[in-house]
Symmetry: C2
DNA sequence: CTGCTATGTTAGCGCTCCTTACATGATCGG
DNA sequence: CCGATCATGTAAGGAGCGCTAACATAGCAG
């Protein structure tokens, strides 16, 4: 990390950047056949290399999955950060955007979402993964603190608890109703609407209500 | 369920009741190594039969998993039913018991829980599975209706939506914080406490509060 | 007893994960 | 410019798994 070489991207050696392409292949496969239907061999095939080439870049299958999950958390945190936008124009609106972003991410990046939450990758598989996951959560926690600050001092819930609740609600809705999986029961509303209503009722329970309304 | 045969348990043929024993073995393996670390061959080994014997009882691995999931839903619904106890002594207390039961089930029967929600078994894998899952949900929905009935007519939310919210919160908490998995962040409260607080705030948001309090 | 069906075993194909040994392309010291 | 070295690829193969096909046997019906 001494800064990039100025004269070239250094995509050298045989293939170029096999690592990136393996991640891309893994995402395709996970999106197509679920988190379990992904095999290292098939990813290698997609990348046009021999079945054992991936093992030059990843110790084993789990490490590859962990890399995918890490990139997922990074992309997720970036999306969350954009949605939060430093709490503008007000904490309430920004908070609602966070929830929508969660559902949208689960819906539009099912492969990332699977790798992050459904593939069974332990969070301490790598320090980078742990870091990326923690940053996502800290973002959410900060958003909660922003909302809590609008409450009168006597009625403020612990920010950590609130963040855990919001995460649980988001994850619950996304996991149960937010995927295009088979076996879905027909719902009267979309996952996004369901989560928005859930959040509104929860916030109401905390004594929060939409400003300017 | 016409009552047991009086003269014998009818463990006939070669092994006796291999099907039951395979399910038991599967539960052990899932509890031990997660929903993915389970193999048909190893289950057969645990049951003391050859690696292909299970295929006389299940078309493939998915069908075995689906059977485990079905039995999980049946056990779950039985537990829920006991907890609900027809809404006695009052809808509020019975409802709280339902939530606790959800967390307890996820905690004490991790193998069932994995098979039901994390193994990727589609709900329409079999009619029995679909039925068992639906019955669990109808139970929850009935409980919600019981609670909603205590609200004044003008403020009643749709029971289906409420049931979906409760399920999402329960599942979110259970999936994220209710397992003994690795990679857990240290929490200031248990999953059961977290869910109870979440429910209380949500119900508060609906205008519900504990009776006699 | 004879034959049928349910339940089990053995053999084997194709696939996966991963290791070991080997080949080759890029880079660097001279 | 050349050979050494290291990073990156391939080839071969072992062990395990899902599943099928062919065969064997236990229990039951007649």
């Amino acid at each position: 990390m001494i800064g990039r070489r100025p004269d070239s991207e250094r995509r050298g050696y045989h293939h170029g950047n096999l690592k990136e392409e393996l991640v891309k292949a893994a995402l395709e496969l996970i999106a197509e056949k679920g988190a379990n239907g992904f095999t290292v061999a098939e990813a290698a095939r997609l990348a046009g290399v021999s079945p054992t080439a991936p093992y030059r870049h990843y110790r084993d299958k789990v490490e590859l999955m962990a890399d995918v999950a890490t990139r997922g958390f990074q992309a997720f945190e970036a999306a969350q950060s954009r949605a939060w936008n430093e709490g503008k124009p007000n904490a309430w609106a920004a908070f609602q955007r966070l929830g929508q972003t969660y559902i949208a991410f689960a819906h539009e990046q099912p492969a990332y979402y699977s790798a992050m939450f459904e593939a069974g990758v332990p969070l301490d598989a790598s320090p980078e993964l742990r870091l990326a996951a923690d940053r996502s959560f800290q973002m959410l926690r900060a958003a909660c603190e922003g909302l809590i600050a609008t409450l009168p001092a006597g009625r403020r819930p612990p920010a950590l608890m609130m963040a855990l609740h919001v995460w649980a609600m988001s994850h619950g809705v996304a996991a149960l109703f937010g995927r295009a999986d088979a076996g879905r029961r027909s719902l009267p509303m979309s996952a996004a609407e369901l989560l928005e209503a859930n959040m509104l009722i929860y916030l109401q329970g905390l004594g929060l209500s939409a400003p300017g309304n």
